[in-house]
């Protein structure tokens, strides 16, 4: 076979290289197109948010489902996380003779990082997947089309209340996760490990600042917004059949979780830069 023939076969439509390029190219184009779609979807939702809010009855149902029904699971997981942090950190702190400072590590980690991320993860798992499944079922059974034919905008009627419920109530869920984590960590450190109660609390009070609490709650608004938008988008673009609904629910959680972690990283970098530009000598563990 001549060189010329080889070159033709390497780039012919059936060659593995062409297929690889085609597949990856299609995946990239699909990805870009999805980002564009989600942006337009979020833009439409924001337009409704600033022009006309949904009825109180529609909002209350969503607030109840997102806030009240998520509270027990967020409280329970928050308590366990606080206790797990105490169990994992105690040994090393004890060796260094710093066990009275255990509260600083537990409480700072909770209010800055674990509380908001845990509340967001619980929300994505419990509420986000359910949103995608409900909206997906409505899409498959033509209920979304029915809304449109009756002069109701599906984004206004279905997405805006869910978005508002998520961003308004995730700070409350975060505070609950923080509080229960702090209680769980205190219980395990003071009651089980016998760390001095006053030292545990004093060190925590000195080192865990209002800024830590603020940054955790600030991040939670973004997490709530992302969960609502991604989950509703997946539901609205659900494929046909039971399998399509299942896929939409799974994708809603996976995409939300990845985005929560990515946003968490970006916001942590920004919030830290902001903090150290105002307070170059921030509090130290020692």
């Amino acid at each position: 076979m001549s060189e010329g023939t080889k070159a033709v076969s390497r780039f012919s439509t059936d060659s593995p290289l062409t297929r690889w390029v085609t597949d990856w190219g299609a995946a990239v184009v699909d990805g870009i197109s999805m980002v564009g779609d989600i942006t337009l979807f979020a833009w439409q939702m924001l337009q409704w948010l600033f022009t006309r809010l949904p009825r109180r009855g529609t909002m209350l149902i969503n607030f109840y489902q997102v806030g009240v029904l998520s509270l027990p699971v967020v409280a329970l997981t928050g308590t366990f996380i606080g206790m797990v942090l105490a169990v994992n950190s105690y040994q090393q702190f004890d060796i260094l003779g710093l066990e009275s400072r255990l509260g600083v590590v537990i409480n700072k980690s909770l209010v800055r990082e674990l509380g908001p991320v845990l509340a967001a993860t619980m929300l994505a798992g419990r509420v986000g997947s359910a949103m995608a499944a409900v909206l997906g079922t409505m899409r498959v059974t033509e209920q979304i089309d029915a809304l449109t034919t009756m002069g109701a905008d599906p984004i206004h009627y279905l997405v805006v209340p869910r978005f508002l419920a998520c961003i308004c109530l995730i700070p409350a869920l975060t505070i609950m996760a923080d509080f229960m984590g702090i209680v769980g960590g205190y219980f395990y450190s003071v009651v089980i490990f016998g760390i001095d109660h006053a030292a545990y609390l004093n060190h925590s009070r000195e080192n865990v600042t209002g800024y830590d609490l603020f940054s955790g709650i600030f991040k939670s608004f973004f997490f709530g917004g992302v969960i609502a938008i991604v989950s509703c988008y997946r539901g609205f673009h659900c494929e046909a059949g039971a399998e399509g609904v299942g896929k939409a629910a799974t994708a809603a959680f996976v995409y939300s979780f990845v985005l929560i972690l990515a946003i968490d990283l970006v916001l942590n970098i920004l919030l830290d830069s902001l903090y150290y530009s105002f307070f170059p000598r921030g509090p130290s563990l020692l």
């Binding site: 149902i61 033509e142 029915a146 002069g151």
Partner: protein
């Protein structure tokens, strides 16, 4: 493009729709007159439902124009389109009732969404419509999951009628129902036409329904099976002319004869490898 007729309610000019590189509708030119009941028939996958969704603006055509009462839907702003949609009623194949709402709330939804009406007015209209479609008052408190297929379709019809639409579109109204319930639905379509001045489009596979309720029948044919230059609307005429239609494919469909399709299917199956 032909000049619009004075009593024309819906008009499709050169409508084509391509979805995922498949041509579903091609060059459809159809006009529907006020007060007509048009049955759209054709085999599965021929584009009947897509056509119906196109005429109410749920699906945008890739090319061509759909006009309602002389105004092109694609030239309307979103608020104008929303206003226009209040003049349509749509009965979905599986009723598409909202699972989270009671039957009363389902039927009342369009009024609550679009009109300022007192609760007593809403209640009166909902109960009147439920009675018109032959449902007892107790049904109002139930949820869609507690109703049979036929009852759901009747609730869907009541909901579609509550804003007193000018155009009502039925998607496969008798599919999945027993013959008696199918006839009940057919009678309801006729009764609705007698009671209200509506134009109706009925998408159906059921020839009994097409013959009974329609005064005009359009038969669609799948784009992929057409020969070059053929129109996708194989038949446009009175239901009484269906049996003796010139086109063999129309007669076969009406009589339920597989004909050469049987050969195609056996060829397709023999080419399958397991």
């Amino acid at each position: 493009m032909n000049e619009p007729m004075a009593d024309e309610l819906v008009r499709c000019d050169d409508v084509s729709l391509v979805f995922d590189q498949h041509t579903i509708l091609q060059d459809i030119d159809v006009s529907i007159l006020r007060g007509q009941t048009v049955a759209v028939i054709g085999e599965s996958g021929c584009g009947k439902t897509v056509f119906m969704k196109t005429i109410v603006g749920l699906v945008k055509p890739t090319r061509g124009t759909v006009s309602f009462d002389g105004r092109a839907l694609n030239e309307m702003t979103l608020p104008e389109l929303t206003q226009t949609r209040k003049r349509f009623g749509f009965v979905f194949q599986n009723a598409a009732l909202f699972d989270s709402m009671s039957i009363y709330e389902n039927v009342a939804f369009p009024i609550r969404q679009n009109e300022i009406a007192s609760e007593s007015d809403v209640q009166q209209r909902v109960m009147q419509l439920l009675s018109e479609v032959g449902l007892p008052a107790e049904v109002a408190k139930k949820y869609p999951s507690a109703l049979s297929g036929g009852m759901r379709k009747r609730v869907g019809l009541a909901r579609a009628l509550i804003l007193r639409p000018e155009l009502i579109v039925y998607d496969e109204p008798t599919t999945g129902l027993d013959p008696i319930m199918s006839d009940v639905i057919n009678e309801l379509i006729l009764e609705t036409r007698r009671r209200y001045p509506v134009t109706s489009v009925v998408v159906t596979h059921d020839m009994h329904t097409a013959r009974k309720v329609a005064d005009r029948v359009l038969m669609f044919y799948p784009r992929r099976r057409l020969e070059a230059g053929e129109s996708q609307v194989l038949f446009d005429g009175s239901p009484s002319d269906l049996e003796n239609a010139e086109d063999r494919r129309v007669r076969q469909f009406v009589r339920g004869e597989a004909g050469e399709r049987l050969k195609e299917i056996s060829l397709e199956s023999s080419s399958l490898s397991f």
